[in-house]
């Protein structure tokens, strides 16, 4: 295992192909997402799901091709830091949504409010 200090002077070559690929793919994915949002075709939930997938894919591609994530020399500290941050992010976002949704449901004390809320939820 080579020492870390010798790594610092090396500069990493970037290939123009990466940027062209990343840019082209991002354009396509952005355009597709816009199309999905503005066309009447997909139903609301399917459209939201599709757009979400397109966003995640574009994010992944930009991380790979613009930010060169995962292409490091070992040990892959950058990748580790990213995976950790991503885990925390998922917990914060989905945790908040879950908790707040439950709070909304459990905190309804007035019957009229409750009915209005329950009617607002799909399927009721």
């Amino acid at each position: 295992m080579s020492k870390v200090t010798s790594v610092e002077s090396r500069t990493a070559p970037v290939h123009i192909r990466d940027y062209l690929l990343g840019f082209g793919a991002s354009l396509l994915l952005t355009g597709s997402a816009y199309f999905v949002a503005t066309s009447d075709m997909p139903a609301k939930h399917e459209a939201m799901f599709l757009i979400g997938i397109l966003a995640v894919v574009q994010c992944g591609l930009q991380l790979m091709y613009f930010l060169h994530l995962g292409r490091e020399f070992k040990p892959r500290y950058r990748l580790m830091a990213f995976v950790f941050a991503l885990s925390m992010l998922l917990i914060v976002v989905f945790g908040s949504l879950w908790i707040m949704q439950h709070l909304n449901y459990n905190m309804l004390y007035h019957p009229a409010q409750q009915e209005k809320y329950l009617r607002g939820q799909d399927g009721l």
Partner: protein, 190 residues
């Protein structure tokens, strides 16, 4: 993917870790926005307010600027200094375009009475998108100082500074992907 192309430089790693903490900041703002998405206080919702073609214009400006920023790094590595400067200037101009469009959008909303105090939804919208805009602003100031340093004759540290700037700028575009998708596109549909 097995080809190793990036060096693990201490400063770059440190900056990357900072970007991860910035990511957490945006995560919290996104979570808040998602929780308050329906809290419109009898006022307008996303679908009433957002002009999608306009947002696409902003998105294109930022995406192309991220691309030109990446090309600038490539140009540096291929000893094409003049091209690098031109690409950085392009990045800056596109960034300014984005900022101008966004500020104009905010102004219009505020003037119509739909400012951040109108509803919980609008508070969280202005906070999330505004924070991103603040990051862009700081990035543009950074870019300006970088360009001044280059034109005055940058030294050995230029590559490191350029790399860090490009990390920051690419990161902001990645965040914008989610703002564009979750705030604007979802807002338009829902």
């Amino acid at each position: 993917m097995s080809q190793e192309v990036t060096t693990m430089n201490r400063t770059t790693l440190g900056f990357w870790i900072y970007l991860m903490t910035d990511c957490m900041l945006f995560a919290a703002l996104f979570a808040t926005f998602a929780v308050l998405r329906a809290s419109t206080n009898g006022g307008p919702a996303g679908s009433d307010l957002f002009d999608l073609p306009y947002v696409m214009l902003e998105t294109m400006a930022l995406l192309i600027s991220s691309f030109s920023c990446g090309l600038a790094v490539w140009a540096y590595q291929n000893n094409r200094r003049q091209l690098m400067v031109q690409l950085l200037v392009l990045t800056g101009l596109l960034g300014l375009t984005f900022l101008g469009l966004e500020l104009s959008e905010f102004h219009k909303l505020i003037v119509e009475g739909n400012g951040p105090s109108r509803s919980g939804f609008l508070s969280s919208y202005f906070t999330l998108v505004g924070t991103h805009g603040l990051h862009i602003t700081v990035g543009l100031i950074w870019l300006a100082t970088l360009l001044v340093q280059i034109l005055k004759g940058a030294g050995k540290s230029l590559y490191r500074r350029l790399t860090l700037f490009s990390l920051f700028w690419h990161f902001l575009d990645v965040v914008w992907i989610f703002i564009f998708s979750v705030v604007y596109l979802w807002g338009h549909i829902a």
